[in-house]
Symmetry: C2
Subunit: 497 residues, 2 copies
């Protein structure tokens, strides 16, 4: 009986997954190969699938099935799946199908407006679609319910259990220490990274990215890389996990670390248990944990000296004229240059958190209504002036740089900082003497295995906090990041930090 | 009231279209960019969408809505849509959802088996999945019901109203006349086409194809071309109509005419009224009419002397060493060489019908059970020996050459011949003195407009037979093809036919 009920449950959830992942394929297509005129109806097609999936997930039958299952004798794994589905079910029931469809359509309109507004440097094209998204997100917070702050309802979507109170505490500890570090660095003799801004032909950059991804362990039989406006990772099951990148021929820094970053996300998805397709234990734990995987590969590994001890000779052999005069140490220092700048995705590891913090401050105020879509460009400029000392010259360098709001992803940005903090803590745990030598040899097998064993295999079985505690022996502690940063940058800048 | 009901109707049908076209996007992705390991779950994802679309199209609510609508005062256009949907609804209700899902899954398994069997030249890999398809198709014929012959039920899927009796009559007239023509040609001095089998680099072939498609009027803002195992056209609405091709660097004949052929299909889909998205009047009339469009462009235009008077100098400029010794007349004669051969898609315009006729004979017997999947290789060889005098050396050149059976498309092949016959008749009607000069100038505007006005704009409003009669002044008459062929080949082979 339990067995039959559990099969009904998995059958139902896997069909819902089929629809959700079909919508994801349409999304992937939209951002890679969709011909321009195809966009008009694509939004509607995705909205219909999203609505269908939502309908299937909110039927009374599923509610009854879940209730029945919790009366049955289930294995611990089965029970874990059922309880997480019950959590999702309860939450989803709070959102009416029409609201979900309206949101999906608003997101589609906002995404296309964002692309156009960015292209034409005209914020007003995006303002109304964004205002619509914000209104819907405020409604969503009300529908979902929250304690203390409406933004908590949205944060919880990306990082279960995350709160404004907790993030305020984390940022209040992190930001002042970072500001001090950044001030000391800016007073020191600067490192040169002008060698990055030369002509690096597209085809060679692409191939180098593919080589790095391959060596990281990204399985191209279970994924592929394509070009898109904004790099992303998307999965249709753990055996079809795709990434995208963009290439700037005049800036080597634009592609490679983004490529490693998405590769880190993709390794997580490829490492999720495929037999749990459509079930909670086949899904990632939280976006903060997801980001810890991408950041660990991008920064703790991909911007480390041992990593480049292996790769730099290969890179020099490909880009001979561009790099023959640049030593490994100069390259390493250059790629780790700390400079307050305008673009989040191109920011160094330290100022990156300031970019995130600015978005966090803005989103909190957008959700409470203290700030409106109209105010964004001015507020953006003020906060960038205050925290980074820079002013955008156009909206693509300013408030139109991120795709997230056009995707309706308010509450998402904080996971980037939390992810980096997790990454530093995880990397400290797995970083023993042998690891450094392996990295110098381009061998990441032990690292990937450690992540597979400590993070990937569990899916959503544990929360981010639980995974962190099990893997590292303690809860999230931002001092691991501060220690990592202090050690790294005191060496690069030759100063006591 | 009528207005509100009609809006419910269009809303329902457009959501069903969203799901069906989403399945089509997954299909397109599967045959172009899907990483190998992604195939395992893709079949299930497509099956779920197909089942959902079918469920939505067979609800009692839709049945009631259609019944109500037919009591209301509707415009002629509205009534035409509703009546065609009623026809589809009645037909679909005959197929249980589980049967539709089973068929979709069997097709997926058969497709992958076909790819593998073809690659390994091992028919036995495909035999069992094909037997399953045949059984399901026999069941489908029984479920749908038929008069006189079970194959009629399947023919009707692709060409409404088509029957074994009618096709027997057409082929009984056509095949003997063709055999006589082919015999006379084979007794005449042969034309040389060896210049086609040289090295034609991929990139230049691809670009030439793109140039021809562009000049045909194929709108790349509403479509794109990619590479796949088997060329096909697929649409997600009339503003997103995609085609695929394959390129053989050692055989120029492999890509270009297939490219023009798919372009002809795509022009039809791009010409369907986009405001009728999801409704019958936004769909093609029949696959025979669809094929008439591709064949008209591929053969009546793309293998004509005026067409190459424009394109050949350009082709010679691209492939200088390959073609500098080949005159326009030699080229024209060569690309129209008539030779009994093994591969349908590479066959000339005359022997092509024999390839189709063989499949027609086989399918009729498979559906009645006179023949089984196991018998195919032997029966195939016997019929090819009898009608074309050739014997396949491997299955890829034989019974595994077509994707159709693996797609569950039994009853489809006859539309290729009927389409060619329509094409000849349509082309005779639009072919006045001015047209030839325009074709010599690479100007196809008048041709495309004529097809848009006489065929494309009507969607499914009229049957194939009705469109043919309206456009040409008479019902389908295979003598137009015989006349066209006699004239063309007597000139090429310099003989009286």
């Amino acid at each position: 009986m339990a067995n039959q009920l559990y099969q009904n449950y998995t059958g139902t959830l896997q069909k819902i997954a089929d629809i959700k992942y079909a919508a994801a394929v349409l999304q992937w297509d939209q951002e890679t190969y969709l011909p321009p005129n195809g966009a008009a109806l694509r939004g509607q097609q995705i909205a219909t699938l999203t609505e269908f999936a939502h309908q299937q997930f909110t039927t009374p039958q599923l509610g009854q099935l879940l209730a029945q299952l919790q009366q049955e004798k289930l294995t611990p794994t089965e029970l874990a799946n059922v309880k997480l589905t019950q959590y999702d079910y309860t939450k989803n029931q709070k959102l009416p199908a029409a609201f979900v469809r309206q949101t999906s359509e608003a997101i589609n309109a906002a995404y296309h407006a964002w692309v156009l507004a960015r292209k034409q440097n005209n914020y007003s094209i995006f303002e109304t679609p964004l205002a619509k998204i914000i209104t819907l997100k405020q409604q969503e917070a009300d529908l979902l319910g929250y304690q203390h702050h409406p933004y908590n309802a949205l944060l919880n979507d990306y990082d279960p259990g995350q709160t404004v109170a907790n993030l305020d505490a984390v940022f209040n500890n992190l930001i002042p220490q970072l500001q001090t570090l950044i001030q000391k660095i800016s007073a020191a003799p600067q490192v040169n990274n002008s060698f990055l801004q030369q002509h690096y032909p597209k085809a060679q950059q692409w191939q180098f990215g593919i080589d790095v991804l391959t060596q990281m362990g990204y399985n191209f039989a279970a994924g592929r890389q394509d070009i898109s406006e904004h790099p992303f990772t998307i999965n249709f099951n753990s055996q079809d996990v795709r990434i995208t990148t963009r290439i700037d021929e005049q800036d080597f820094a634009n592609m490679l670390w983004s490529c490693i970053h998405e590769g880190g996300h993709a390794l997580y998805e490829q490492g999720l248990p495929n037999q749990m397709y459509g079930l909670p234990l086949g899904e990632y734990a939280s976006l903060s944990i997801h980001e810890s995987q991408s950041r660990l590969w991008e920064n703790n590994l991909g911007r480390s000296l041992p990593f480049w001890q292996y790769w730099y000779p290969k890179l020099q052999a490909i880009f001979v004229t561009q790099l023959q005069q640049v030593s490994l140490q100069q390259f390493y220092n250059g790629i780790n240059q700390v400079t307050p700048s305008l673009i989040r995705t191109e920011a160094d590891e330290l100022t990156y958190h300031l970019h995130v913090y600015i978005r966090y401050l803005l989103e909190k105020d957008l959700i409470t209504g203290t700030l409106t879509a109209k105010d964004i460009p001015t507020a953006w400029a003020e906060l960038y002036k205050k925290y980074l000392g820079v002013t955008p010259h156009n909206h693509a360098q300013g408030c139109l740089q991120d795709v997230h709001w056009s995707h309706g992803s308010l509450g998402y940005f904080a996971t980037y900082s939390i992810g980096s903090l997790y990454a530093a803590q995880l990397f400290t745990s797995l970083n023993n003497n042998g690891i450094s030598t392996q990295i110098q040899q381009g061998n990441y097998t032990q690292i990937l295995n450690w992540l597979r064993n400590n993070i990937h295999q569990y899916g959503r079985q544990f929360t981010g906090q639980q995974l962190c505690t099990t893997a590292t022996g303690q809860a999230l502690n931002s001092q691991f990041f501060i220690q990592y940063a202090t050690q790294k940058y005191s060496s690069i800048y030759g100063i006591a930090l």
